[in-house]
Amino acid sequence: MEIKETAIAGTLESSDIQIMLAKGANGIEIDLESDVKKQFGQQIESVITTTLNQLGIESASVKAVDKGALDCVIKARTIAAAQRAGQTTDEPAWEVL
């Protein structure tokens, strides 16, 4: 999937994560803000990267503001942001879910 525009998904409520996706040049670059970064930073980044790769996105600039989201939430918000960025929201990528 190709990123056509900058897109956002998720909120700043607790147990949610807000993901902003923009075009990138050097692979998946993640700027992560999280209260649990010390304990779960790597895990969060790996879920985002894996999810994007599964959608065929190899290069993106990601801004993630995490409020203690579980992996399933991180994955869902990443997919939503990616499909909005790729303007493919009317064709959900079921196989990634």
């Binding site: 147990s15 649990v36 779960f40 989201a69």
Partner: protein
């Protein structure tokens, strides 16, 4: 060296401060010697001093131990007023020994540490920027954390020797008779400050309300007080307590409260004349409400409610469901106001409340207590002191003391956000698992294996599944994942005393 909860203790500091490692929750029947304060004799006619500057000049010298109480909580004006004067006077090397430190004091404490005014601290807890500062190595000497009962013990033993106590009160007469109930910034019980009034060498009262002599009822007495300073305002009444106590609507908290209630009412302790202590927070307040209904339905009355008191508890007193309220601290205005009018709401000092080295403390007579936890581990050890990032952000309060009750219930959600509450090993052991009986989560309960009797009593409650605590730990881990272990340096920034004065754990400087 390791103590009996398997925590490695720093030998050099243990030896230097002459500490023993924690061994057991049993206090036994030792014979102990209490200390007595110095008394500067006077007839009491010249106690009123016009300024804090004057009284600081007369009382505070380099190297002394000074104390404050925290009954004004986040509405406290006294601490910052006094510390400003002490810092500006250039006094150095003080030990700060308040009953606890609240958020409004943080900036001033940090400034005092940076300027060398304060070089040692002992407290029930600390939060926010001060906890962060200490956890990042801002204070050279380790902070000593003590529970409210242990602070009383340490003062009576002379482990804490208070040279000057600065005690804010909402009223006092010219000789120092004072209470916490009348005036503008009222907080009710003076429980923690009564220790300082009794044992400090110099006692300075600060008030915005000098009343005609003699002032009654006198919680602090003229026989204890050296100086009375009139200040413009001792506190902000809006910030002393939470306003109206709100009943939680959070379904998770309600579920936990409902389960706590079922555990209590199915336990052998729920009978006429039982006693209980609940804390603050949504779940604890909800428990009080559920318990009230059960008491009415089963025609059961409690002999006393203990501890930090809230309005829902004094409501039970008013309804006749509780015979007495034993009150060391009031968390809201409702409870503080009620003390005024009802002699069945008895003000108690911290020693009476919870000091283990006593001829009987209230906590020794306690049947049921509901306490919270930041973390609890598979050995039932509880952490209420360090956050999930390893930074100091809590207070022991009466946690260690009240958990000596016959039925100690820890109520906590299985996970908070992405942080597991039930963990393989707590970051900091504050209350040993030996004194904890039941963990209540929204998914079910776990019973300390040494309480076989409770297992039988609680095994057939509809809707309350019993798990092994390690099963709950695994359920939590399955939801949030396995965290990367926290990184600490070798440097000790705080020592956690058990209530008997032994060391139960230490807190290390966080690595960033």
């Amino acid at each position: 060296m390791k103590n009996s909860v398997n925590r490695e203790l720093p030998e050099d500091i243990m030896n230097e401060l002459d500490y023993k490692g924690f061994e057991s929750t049993e206090i036994g029947n030792p014979e102990i010697q209490r200390v007595a304060p110095k008394v500067h004799v006077s007839t009491g006619d010249n106690k009123v001093v016009s300024s804090i500057e004057d009284v600081v000049k007369k009382t505070v010298k380099d190297g002394m131990t000074i104390s404050f109480h925290h009954h004004f909580r986040n509405g406290d004006f006294v601490f910052n007023k006094v510390m400003r004067v002490i810092i500006d006077a250039g006094i150095q090397d003080l030990t700060l020994a308040p009953s606890s430190l609240t958020g409004v004091m943080n900036d001033m404490v940090i400034e005092a540490i940076k300027k060398g005014t304060i070089t040692n601290i002992t407290s029930s807890g600390m939060r926010g920027s001060l906890g962060d500062f200490v956890s990042h190595g801002g204070l050279k000497n380790p902070v000593i954390f003590r529970s409210h009962g242990n602070r009383a013990r340490a003062i009576e033993h002379g482990d804490i020797k208070i040279d000057v106590a600065f005690l804010g009160v909402p009223n006092a007469d010219r000789l120092g008779n004072a209470n916490g109930m009348n005036g503008n910034a009222v907080f009710g019980s003076l429980g923690y400050a009564l220790m300082d009034a009794q044992y400090a060498n110099s006692v300075v009262l600060l008030t915005d309300n000098i009343v005609p002599y003699p002032n009654t009822p006198a919680s602090i007495k003229q026989t204890q007080v050296d100086y009375v300073v009139e200040v413009d305002k001792v506190g902000d009444p809006e910030k002393i307590g939470s306003g109206a106590t709100r009943f939680t609507k959070d379904p998770k908290e309600l579920k936990i409260a409902e389960t706590v209630n079922k555990v209590i009412t199915n336990s052998p302790y729920f009978k006429n004349g039982f006693s209980f202590q609940t804390g603050t927070g949504g779940a604890a307040l909800a428990v009080t409400r559920y318990l009230r209904q059960e008491m009415i339905d089963n025609k059961i009355k409690a002999s006393f409610a203990l501890g930090g008191i809230t309005k829902p508890t004094t409501d039970l007193l008013e309804e006749g469901l509780v015979e007495k309220v034993m009150d060391v601290q009031d968390f809201d205005k409702g409870a503080a106001d009620f003390m005024h009018t009802n002699p069945k709401q008895q003000e108690i000092d911290a020693s009476w409340y919870a000091d283990p080295d006593n001829k009987g403390a209230m906590v020794d007579q306690l049947d049921v207590v509901i306490l919270s936890a930041l973390e609890i581990d598979t050995k039932f050890n509880v952490n209420v002191m360090s956050g999930s990032d390893g930074v100091i952000r809590g207070a022991i309060g009466g946690h260690q003391d009240a958990s000596t009750a016959n039925l100690t219930i820890i109520s906590a959600p299985l996970i908070r956000g992405r942080i597991a509450t039930v963990v393989p090993d707590v970051t900091t052991v504050v209350t040993p698992g030996d004194s904890v009986d039941v963990l209540v989560t929204e998914y079910g309960i776990a019973i300390n294996p040494k309480r076989d009797d409770l297992k039988k009593a609680l095994s057939n409650i509809p809707g309350v599944p019993i798990y092994d605590i390690s099963e709950l730990q695994q359920m939590a881990e399955k939801r949030v994942g396995k965290p990367t272990p926290l990184q600490f340096t070798d440097r000790t920034v705080a020592m956690i005393e058990y209530r008997d004065g032994s060391i139960i754990d230490t807190i290390k400087q966080v690595k960033d």
